[in-house]
Amino acid sequence: MKLGHPEYTEFEVVGFDSTPKIECGRSLPLLRNLTTNSFSMGTNQLHNPSHELAISEEEIKSWLAEGRITMLPKPLPAFQHAIIVYAREDMLRLGNGLTLPKRIGNHRLQWQRLLEHDPRTWTTLVPESLSITLLDLWGLHFRDLTTMLLERFLLEQDEAFRAQAETTAEIARGAAMNVRLRCEIFVRHGLAILHSNTPERIETVFNIIVRREYPQWNHDDYLSLVRELGELLRARRQLHSLPKSPAATLSTTKPDPWLIMLRKAEEISAENPATQATRSEESAKWNRSAYPVTEAQSKRLTARILGSTEVILNPEDFQIVVGEPACYYPGVLKRCMDAIYLDATAFVNAAKLFKDILTSDPSTHSTVTYSIAKDMDQPPEQPYKITKV
């Protein structure tokens, strides 16, 4: 069943479940059956009396008044796996130039403002897979913004930067769906709290949020990761060399894959180019041992990337990518992540840089990685103007 399938032409999306609660998020669409005037939530249970509501316009008004549903100013055609994504203008204002994307890959996004009840919120209707992409894109943006604010705070000790970093980390957390991305955001959020006037909140954050998603972490793991990130960001800002020896960093008592991977990625991004190639190879090697990938799998991914105009990596693909040293260069990773989430052409261009690595003899990895690293230096940071919240 696809867009325009007869089963969906009987329905239109007139609103969505609940009301926007945070800066951005997703909701199930509220569908109206144009023939029977009954309503249902989501597009997976069409024509099922166990999931339909035969209700009156008065009831709709009542639910609207209670905030149980939100109506769209203009109904939209329904399609399979359709999801509403909303974005508040607060998020755009705090996003340092963030705008609503007009397209993702080949999919054009049509945004409409919730005029009557919430004029500062915009919504769009997208396939479910793209809703995740869109939220991860915002999560990435606010993760990077948080990183920048934390660096500025650590350098200048201006509380305004820290406070805003805490806010942007929460926005990033509210948006991001990707498990690795969330992991990075949690650590940045922890760092912002650790330097606040109430650092004890970090324990509550760990117990209420972090431990729930990463049950294998303990509080000490989290705290040490947060502190290490602080040191690394300070070092990156001041262009210092490694704050810790690799051996000391790797001697974790609980070898949780996410913890180790995160530490390595953060460390490598703080290193100077001369040591990046070696360290990236180490990280990739570790991941290859943690997530064994066959040559055939690598080749299949390469073929898929290079042979397609629109590619979105799934978790299995991601395991292949993190086994490649190039993944650990901040510029490479960012460009590829942007490409994955933003634009198919950019993704294919970035993927071509992986081609040699994905298909070459492992013994040549370091050489290829080094040449990519030169090509993919991080772009110069833009001056950041802080906005008072």
Partner: protein, 275 residues
């Protein structure tokens, strides 16, 4: 309960129906014994706005503030239900809010209340509110009140009636979640083409507040969970953190919100009754 009045005679006159009833009765009995009742929070951000103490309680409707729906209050008054906390037996529907809580049968202990084999709000009608449960032949407000009174089941015995209702009207039993009843009831409700799930889902009502800490398992919409966690991390006193942790431990998807929180909670309920 009109839907089950003289059911033996009706079954006796229809061999297929009788056979299906006999086949399903034992399974229906097991489902009815174990099935969770579900409360979906209408507005979680309001309910969890105050973390100065923990746990909060689900409160009966209150006509003195805007929290309660006018239709619900009018229904309670018209049908003499009293002020209630509402649950559905094994079902959840997203229009009700952003967090769904499932309670096991033991949570009903020490409560006064009643149950009907339909959503009472859908049965109610007046000059403003049209009914969304249709009857054949059509009945006026006065007759609907009488029908509701006749359908009322005491809280203490509702599970037995629910077992009978399932075995009589659903074949297969999963139709309670996935489809609709397969045989007619005397009041022309269950097979009425305009009626949907609210016409055959059991509504369970408690007269007293109900502690959220008694929850068996729960899940939430993504953004509701995020807002809930933000509020909790900023405002929950340390003294309540252990109790709060127990509550979080009962989340169906640890640490993760989901758009399909209602489907998920229904699926878990069905898993637990092996359906």
């Amino acid at each position: 309960m009109p839907a089950l009045d003289k059911i033996e005679n009706r079954l006796h006159d229809n061999l297929d129906w009788h056979a299906s009833y006999n086949t399903n009765l034992a399974s229906a009995g097991k489902i009815a014994e174990q099935i969770q009742i579900v409360h979906v929070l209408g507005n979680p951000s309001t309910f969890f706005s105050n973390f100065s103490s923990w746990p909060p309680t689900l409160s009966p409707t209150d006509d003195t503030n805007a929290r309660s729906r006018p239709r619900t209050v009018k229904t309670e008054d018209a049908f003499n239900l009293g002020r209630c906390v509402y649950f559905y037996a094994g079902r959840a529907f997203p229009v009700s809010g952003g967090m769904a809580f499932a309670f096991s049968p033991v949570a009903e202990a020490n409560h006064e209340g009643s149950v009907t084999p339909f959503d009472t709000g859908g049965l109610y009608c007046d000059d403003f509110f049209k009914p969304y449960i249709h009857m054949t032949p059509s009945k006026d407000a006065h007759s609907r009140k009488a029908f509701c009174q006749a359908s009322m089941i005491p809280l203490a015995i509702w599970r037995k009636r629910f077992a009978d209702f399932l075995a009589v009207y659903f074949s297969p039993l999963a139709g309670y979640w996935e489809g609709r009843p397969w045989k007619p009831d005397p009041d022309g409700i269950l097979l009425h083409p305009q009626n949907t799930w609210q016409a055959w889902t059991f509504e369970v009502r408690f007269q007293e507040p109900h502690g959220i800490s008694k929850v068996d398992f729960w899940c939430a919409k993504e953004d509701d969970l995020e807002l809930f966690r933000r509020n909790a991390t900023n405002a929950l006193p340390a003294a309540y953190s252990a109790e709060f942790a127990k509550f979080l431990d009962r989340m169906l998807t640890p640490g993760q919100g989901t758009l399909n929180y209602c489907n998920l909670i229904e699926q878990e309920i069905r898993n637990r009754v092996s359906l």
